[in-house]
Amino acid sequence: MLDFLDINFLTGRVMPYLDRGLVMSLQLIIPAALIGGFIGVVMGVMRVFGTPWMRRGTDAVVAVIRGVPLTVQLMVLYFGLPSVPGLKIYLSPYAAALIGFIVCTASYQSEYVRGALLSIRQGQIRAAQALGMTRWQTILSVVVPQAVRRALPGCGNEIIYLVKYSSLAYIVTCIELTGEAKVLVSRTFRPTEVYLVAACYYLVMVSAATYLLAKLEKKLAIPGFGTQK
């Protein structure tokens, strides 16, 4: 019997395997966070300032996405879409997972953004109008820059969640960190060590994300917004 927590096993076997998974995880997380974050802001703006139809449409999307487990959404995207008559959309495992994550994170982000948009005082909108600015100029250059700063802590939280729910990608056979770990466990029967290392990888990713978000918050800090002076 090999030693428990054998360094050679960890560095020689587990880490190369999981490194590969880590790369796939990052390929899911980074685009999902960036694209999803951007779409989230757009959806948030539409939900607050859009025409009645825009609002209804985006509210409905958010209601569905927030109301259905992500696991089920991913299964629908990957296993469900090919059997829709007349549609027959075949997504690669990576595409299915990425689309699922983007839509999911955008919906949650839009909720944080919506709250922040509503918190911007109406007075400033009136002041912009009084200067002759149009509605969309006002929204884009007065309301959104402030709302983004207000929403940042919540949006950062959502990114942290995203890092962790990216582990669901393996159920649509997109083998990322958790997927690789599972495969390795089934070959080595050493779940404790493998999952321990995987857990450490996630912890490192979340710590890195936290660090970057704190830096971003600091960079965007303005007197009167946030806690830093």
Partner: protein
């Protein structure tokens, strides 16, 4: 701005009526501005002064009435004409309404860039000129949270003036300020009046109103009840509602507000 003939009104607001939540807040109010006019709206709270003011640049759309810019009637259902009207009519609010995320210079520069289409450098140059005019050139980089109330209001004035308005509306510009900060804002407004900037101002600073106003409009319950020069309305023994109101204001406040310079 091409200066109209001295006897042509530069702006007329005619027969304004406005309903809010089913109540008639404003009932057939008119005002006409000629170059150099400084008109002061006074009256008890709830008289419709602020509503009247906000109807003039259509922040509140009047339910009835017409706005004339010089010889041209403004169709405020037309968004282009509406935005154009608002560029001609600057507005100063009681609570400043600065853009919280922008430094003083960018508060002034934003509309220059977005509405006037100036480049960033041009807009900032103009912003610095305007801030210098209100005595804040050294505060250009500071954010609203770092400014005092009086400084904020002066930035707001610079922001409005940068758009080269034909006329300026001031909605109780000093009533949110600590007493010791009132003077600096009044000085700026007095300078504007001296340079001939047409202004309509809602205020409770009666001494100031008396000093700068060419006309006082006394409003009550949505109507303009009295209208005339301060000399007429506030003459000893004039027996006007305006005078009565001012006397009561003095009694309430004790002394007249501090006047400087």
């Amino acid at each position: 701005m091409n200066a109209p003939q001295n006897d042509t009104p530069i702006l007329r607001a005619e027969h304004f009526s406005k309903y809010l939540t089913g109540r008639k807040i404003l009932d057939d109010c008119s005002i006409s501005m000629r170059p150099g006019d400084v008109k002061v709206l006074i009256g008890p709270s709830g008289a419709g002064k602020s509503t009247f003011l906000q109807c003039i640049n259509c922040l509140l759309e009047p339910d009835e009435g017409e706005i004339w810019l010089g010889e041209r009637r403004v169709d405020f259902k037309n968004t282009r004409e509406l935005y154009d009207l608002r560029q001609h009519v600057g507005m100063i609010f009681q609570d400043f309404k600065l853009f919280d995320h922008l430094s003083a210079e960018n508060n002034v520069a934003l509309a220059l860039r977005k509405v006037r289409g100036l480049s960033k450098a041009e807009a900032l140059k103009r912003a610095h000129e305007e801030l210098a005019r209100v005595g804040l050139e050294d505060k250009a980089k500071l954010y609203p949270a770092q400014l005092s109330g009086g400084q904020k209001q002066r930035v707001a004035i610079a922001r409005a003036l940068a758009m080269d308005p034909t006329i300026l509306l001031l909605d109780e510009p000093t009533s949110a300020l600590d007493p010791e900060l009132v003077g600096e804002v009044l000085t700026v407004i007095r300078d504007l009046a001296a340079r001939g900037m047409p202004m309509i101002m809602v205020t409770h600073q009666m001494e100031f109103a008396r000093a700068v106003a060419t006309e006082i409009l006394f409003m009550e319950a949505g109507h303009v009840i009295e209208q005339g020069s301060p000399e007429e309305l506030l003459a000893p023994g004039a027996q006007t509602r305006t005078q009565d109101f001012c006397t009561r204001l003095y009694e309430l406040c004790g002394e007249t507000p501090v006047e400087e310079g």
